[in-house]
């Protein structure tokens, strides 16, 4: 599909520019910049580094004094410098060699696949990248970012993601905290309950979505009566369905964090408040909750990030649907005549993927991803900052 689309794009260019060479001429600057960049990188890699190594080797073999500046001490032959740092049998040289050898695999994989792609992505978000990967993308500045906010689908999915995340954070944390309090009581089978509540978390998000699609669409509807219509059919209740699924999956995991925190609450404080005559609710409010505030920070951060990044369960549960009408306020904001249909569970992670691989506007999709990242970073920093202020130190 990808290749086919690529061929289509080439044909489009030919149709617009007459032939491909005109197209290349139009984008001469871009290719020149790229040539310079490639030139510099390959120059460093294949010329400068081997050159230095060669000089060092020759200097070492013939004991030539090539004076270099040693920042640590005084002027010293570069040969001695290299030998003493990297090549000798001394402990320091051995350590340096191990240092580069041990760091190389993970550091290179990490910097190539995470850091390089991240910065490359920032650049690509400002081009008209269409998935063809010719290396001839035109630099278009911030117009991808502009067009993103003229896209009502994106604004709607941002809005829906925020609603979903807020509801989800509350649902998961309340259920998880309740379960944690339940299983930290002196119950006989509490270890079994803990394992049971934790179990759904082991099943992958995609598989989980299919299970619940079956439950909502087949099992529950077969009861008939007021259950006859599935939750997933209606635009508003589909979000509720998604929240139920994610809470079922995630509550047991967050519960474990709360259990760890609840077990660290010093029992003498609880006893003291009992003697002072506090009832169960007062004990919870004034003694336990402030002491587990740190767990709340962690759990809310985790649930916030997972809610925002939610992808595979959404795909398998409703595939971004069911269709619903755009809310009135977004419609009037965009000045549209009629309310267009949008996917009601089209969360932001899904929207980015569709923009890239259904509409083949990878530049716009990448710009959306950058906005998503900045937004998520800002919100989670705010959340952690706000929650940290409520923590107490013992």
């Amino acid at each position: 599909m990808f290749l086919f689309q690529g061929a289509q794009n080439e044909l489009n260019y030919i149709a617009v520019y007459g032939n491909l060479s005109t197209f290349e001429k139009e984008n001469g600057l871009k290719t020149l910049m790229q040539k310079i960049l490639y030139g510099v990188i390959s120059g460093v890699m294949f010329i400068i580094i081997p050159f230095i190594a060669l000089i060092a080797l020759i200097a070492r073999l013939f004991k030539i004094d090539i004076y270099a500046f040693d920042p640590m001490k005084q002027r010293k032959p570069i040969a001695t410098y290299v030998v003493s740092r990297w090549m000798g049998n001394s402990g320091k040289a051995q350590h340096n060699r191990t240092f580069s050898l041990f760091l190389m695999p993970s550091l290179s994989a990490f910097s190539l696949f995470v850091m390089f792609t991240f910065f490359h992505g920032i650049f690509l978000s400002m081009t008209n990248w269409d998935g063809l990967n010719t290396g001839k993308e035109i630099f278009v500045g911030l117009s991808n970012y502009m067009s993103m906010f003229r896209d009502y689908g994106f604004v709607y999915s941002l809005y829906k993601t925020i609603i979903y995340s807020v509801l989800n954070i509350f649902a998961i944390n309340i259920v998880a905290f309740f379960l944690a309090i339940l299983v930290t009581q002196n119950l006989k089978l509490k270890n079994l309950y803990r394992a049971g509540f934790f179990l759904p978390n082991l099943i992958g998000g995609l598989v989980l979505g299919y299970i619940w699609q079956f439950i909502f669409n087949r099992a529950i509807t077969s009861l008939g009566g007021s259950f006859a219509t599935s939750l997933l059919v209606n635009g508003d209740s589909a979000l509720l369905g998604l929240i139920i699924v994610i809470t079922w999956q995630y509550a047991g995991y967050i519960m474990m964090i709360y259990i760890a925190a609840l077990q660290n609450v010093p029992q003498d404080l609880v006893e003291a408040s009992k003697i002072d005559g506090a009832n169960a609710y007062q004990r919870l409010r004034t003694v336990i909750l402030p002491l587990v505030a740190q767990a709340f920070t962690v759990s809310m951060f985790l649930t916030l990030v997972t809610s925002f990044k939610q992808y595979d369960t959404v795909i398998s549960l409703t595939n971004g649907g069911p269709g619903t009408l755009l809310p009135q306020w977004i419609t009037s904001w965009f000045g549209l005549a009629a309310r267009p249909a949008v996917g009601s569970n089209n969360l932001i992670a899904l929207n980015i993927y569709q923009e890239a691989f259904a509409r083949y506007q990878l530049g716009v999709g990448q710009a959306k991803a950058i906005v998503f990242f900045v937004f998520l970073l800002a919100v989670s920093l705010l959340q952690v900052y706000y929650n940290k202020r409520k923590e107490v130190e013992l």
């Binding site: 060699r97 191990t98 041990f102 760091l103 695999p105 993970s106 550091l107 994989a109 190539l112 696949f113 995470v114 850091m115 390089f116 792609t117 991240f118 992505g121 690509l124 990967n133 379960l179 339940l182 299983v183 002196n186 119950l187 089978l189 079994l192 309950y193 803990r194 509540f197 179990l199 082991l202 099943i203 992958g204 998000g205 995609l206 598989v207 299919y210 299970i211 079956f214 439950i215 087949r218 099992a219 077969s222 009861l223 079922w248 995991y253 474990m256 964090i257 962690v298 985790l302 990030v305 990044k309 992808y311 595979d312 398998s316 993927y353 890239a356 991803a369 950058i370 998503f372 990242f373």
Partner: protein, 290 residues
């Protein structure tokens, strides 16, 4: 007499016990539904999705069906998932332990910077790098001729990149607490630096290594988006989530088979959970808190 018996039995604790048990049953219900419905044929599943199946042998019939059918091919998907998960886990574990150890044992500015560089990677969500990643893998394929896309080499490499920051962070914290005296003694006894790591340090890392295996293993085994991008859903090589998705997308609403494949995809992890429950729970939660 009667009332005191009542009061003795129905203490608040007993009521909580009942509540806990009921909730656990409720949590298990979806899984029970999957099991009973995987043992039905297509007609029965639509007629009575809630009752227990009339013929349990249907389960084996369904399993045989997903084993043999071309577009699911459970066995090869399982093997692919297994290869991807184990090789990524081993490589992530060894590489990041190496990096973390040398970073802790080198007390210079550079090691601090490199560590910070790793930490910065933990903030980046996958969605931001996924599109350039596909492009990078395609470029690598053109440059080297190795098929990084559509096979599992690229997936494993990408997992090493994405799994490294958290693992380095966890190992870094753990190694700081190991006294350096053991290593110095080993060096005096004639070990080289790499030998010190592989013979002395790596065995000490066992507890944190298990945590790392669990944390990354759960993520990689269940991951859908990265294999979808790199391998693609229509290719010859499929991981388990991909094959479940392609079945559910293609034979829409053939629920008996979908649920059987769902069950079979979840089964390995559930069996593992039965045996290593303590490690898994500890690993997943302690990793998150750090």
């Amino acid at each position: 007499m009667e009332r005191s018996w009542l009061r003795k039995t129905f203490t608040p604790l007993f009521l909580l016990e009942i509540l806990g048990f009921g909730l656990m049953i409720a949590f298990f219900l979806p899984i029970v539904l999957v099991i009973i419905n995987a043992s039905k044929d297509a007609a029965e599943i639509i007629r009575t999705p809630l009752s227990s199946p009339t013929d349990w042998t249907n389960l084996f019939k369904n399993i045989k069906e997903i084993m043999t059918r071309d577009n699911i091919n459970y066995l090869s998907a399982f093997i692919n998932s297994f290869i991807i998960t184990t090789s990524s886990l081993i490589l992530i574990g060894v590489f990041s332990a190496m990096a973390a150890w040398i970073l802790v044992r080198t007390k210079t500015r550079y090691s601090m910077w490199i560590f910070m560089f790793f930490l910065a990677g933990m903030v980046i969500p996958f969605q931001v790098v996924m599109l350039p990643l596909v492009r990078l893998l395609e470029t690598l394929r053109h440059l080297t001729g190795i098929p990084f896309k559509d096979t599992y080499y690229g997936v494993i490499l990408a997992y090493i990149g994405f799994g490294t920051p958290l693992s380095v962070f966890m190992f870094h914290g753990f190694i700081k607490s190991i006294p350096i005296d053991i290593e110095e003694a080993a060096i005096i006894d004639g070990c080289s630096k790499p030998q010190v790591f592989f013979k002395i340090v790596l065995p000490i890392l066992k507890p944190i290594f298990v945590t790392m295996l669990v944390l990354n293993g759960m993520w990689i085994w269940n991951d859908y988006l990265l294999p979808l991008l790199v391998i693609g859903i229509g290719g010859a090589v499929k991981t388990l989530p991909l094959s479940v998705a392609s079945l559910a997308g293609f034979y829409d609403k053939e629920w008996a088979l979908i649920l059987t494949s769902v069950l079979m995809a979840a089964l390995p992890v559930l069996i593992l959970f039965l045996f290593a429950q303590k490690h898994i729970i500890k690993g997943m939660t302690s990793g998150a808190i750090k």
